[in-house]
Symmetry: C2
Subunit: 349 residues, 2 copies
């Protein structure tokens, strides 16, 4: 394992993600090895560490480690070492994966990172319980951390996760709501809970782990909130027009399920002819047919939903950078946080 | 609210349950009111505080408050006040209800305490997320408690919940296993995780809240382990021969689903003619027909599964009382803990 010091050279964002994944992996694996033996099986299947029969797999299917990278850079931005950030990085990655395990059941997504989701491979009970186990493992990891992270971390994480859960739940309710009745403000609030809170908590926990005072923790948290908002906007754009091979999820799934993601909500509320046609298309029951989903994606674009989302993401990125500057970050780590913020607003859209 | 002091008069077990429920209810309600507004709806539906439209209901459908009663009595047994036990009582009740929310999905049980389970009323996503929210609320409640409970409580609870989750998962795997291959030891270990750990944690957290030293916490924890073992044995007996009106669940559901509960496992392993017939009945696929379930219940009894379970429960109760004595408990609270232990081994079976 090479721990690349951030003193001096600014690493590009992709390198930050790789380094964060590498720093997090052994501690993440050790935490999972501490689980009771039965529930370890679906958990390891989710991470791609072994197959359905328990035979080891190469590589795993770790995500992009965006949250751990934010933890480490926030930690270093206030003067902490990379090692000081490990427990917080593991905790946010565990929460993220717990929520993916449950989210795939909720959304009926059979694929996760190009392989069968746990619920599709082992059934809903295994995926529910594996998610539960990871949620608790995250809390445990923070509770056992020394110093201010152990003291303040569990409460910070718990509050963020409650907002995350509430955002997920609101998301399921929005799916059943009449398209014409859903406002962009509502969808924005939902996305803030569903995505923004954990990204904000990643930055805040990294800052706490690095020994920051309350004011710097708040600024880095606000940085994370804006990065999270931008992240969700771009994620929604990718959900409509991204390459399924890169996203690991089928294209048009959000539209087929009549989801009101941010660009879709903006298009529905646009008052344009394309927006009105989209409302009519969304008014029926059941999933959209593939051809309807293709037409719907074109209508979202025509109604200005795509460019609205991209511009909103850019605006949040600018606000994130203002909050970052207010945190008086160390120079190299600040450049790396800017690179990460830039990465999430320019992912192949 | 009347807080009945335990100094002096020993309250009967049913009174202890009522007092525990009454002491817990306002704090439980306040904790839930602190959740984000969206997710509160399915949570309150689960507790029976409001109906599907959010209109208030009288009474609620609180459970029997066995775990809170153990918390309060354990707390008082080491010299704590009832008030000192409230946070721990709320936490274990939240975990218990979170696990019920998920368990009903897993088992496909449409009824909970005589009313529709949340997944049946609002769908699987609502029940998954409501359970997640309650799990985190439990941790939060302990983390915010003052003194040793706030410091040691979250870790103790988290470890217990991991064993609970593992027990639940093992239970789902046992359902798919060939009846002939399942041992009583395996089912006992599963039940220890699924039921025993949270009851043991209730006693241990109550003792911590009451200011006990490590040795007394360990004895009260061991008391709880044995009470939990007895509790599960009797719960399994009730699942086979209990009155559906009292249990709030249809009779024979365990058998129909080919569950290997403790009396069933003992019957399957009995080597008797009835045990062999039961194995043959269990060997097919799909749920048992009602008439087959009735026959299976008779076979479990004939093979000695019922009397084995009742006697095993009595043995665990005796061991529980030995551990209780070793904790050097206060006299009145000790009598009440004995009453609670007795209650769970003599519930209408």
């Amino acid at each position: 394992m090479t721990v690349v010091s951030s003193a001096g050279t600014v690493r590009p964002a992709q390198q930050l993600l790789r380094d964060a994944a590498e720093l997090t992996r052994p501690a993440l694996r050790a935490a999972v090895e501490g689980l009771p033996v039965g529930i370890r099986h679906p958990v390891g299947l989710h991470f791609g560490w072994w197959d359905q029969k328990g035979s080891p797999l190469d590589g795993g299917r770790a995500g992009k480690a965006v949250r751990p990278a934010l933890v480490f850079s926030a930690c270093e931005a206030v003067g902490g070492t990379p090692e000081a950030g490990v427990a917080a990085a593991v905790a946010v990655e565990l929460v993220h994966n717990a929520s993916l395990l449950h989210d795939d059941i909720i959304d009926g997504d059979r694929l996760r990172r190009g392989r069968p989701a746990v619920w599709a491979a082992l059934g809903v009970p295994a995926a529910i319980l594996a998610g539960d186990a990871l949620f608790f493992l995250a809390v445990q990891t923070l509770a056992e951390a020394p110093g201010p992270l152990g003291a303040a971390g569990p409460g910070m994480l718990t509050r963020a996760v409650q907002e995350l859960i509430d955002g997920e739940y609101t998301d399921t309710l929005l799916e059943d709501r009449e398209a014409a009745s859903v406002s962009v403000a509502e969808v924005t609030a939902m996305a803030r809970g569903k995505t923004g809170e954990l990204i904000a908590a990643s930055c805040a926990l990294g800052a706490v782990a690095g020994g920051a005072d309350g004011q710097r923790v708040r600024c880095l948290r606000a940085f994370g909130e804006h990065v999270g908002a931008a992240f969700q906007l771009i994620d929604d754009v990718l959900g409509l027009w991204g390459d399924p091979v890169r996203t690991g999820k089928p294209a048009g799934a959000d539209l087929a399920a009549r989801k009101k993601s941010l660009p879709i909500a903006a298009a529905l509320a646009s008052g344009s002819a394309a927006g009105r046609e989209l409302r009519r298309l969304y008014a029926g029951g059941g999933p959209l047919a593939p051809a309807e989903a293709v037409r719907a994606a074109a209508l979202v674009e025509e109604a200005g939903g795509r460019s609205w989302a991209v511009h909103a993401a850019e605006r949040h990125t600018r606000q994130a950078l203002e909050e970052l500057a207010a945190a008086r970050p160390r120079r190299t780590a600040a450049a790396e946080l800017r690179a990460l913020a830039d990465l999430v607003t320019s992912r192949d859209h």
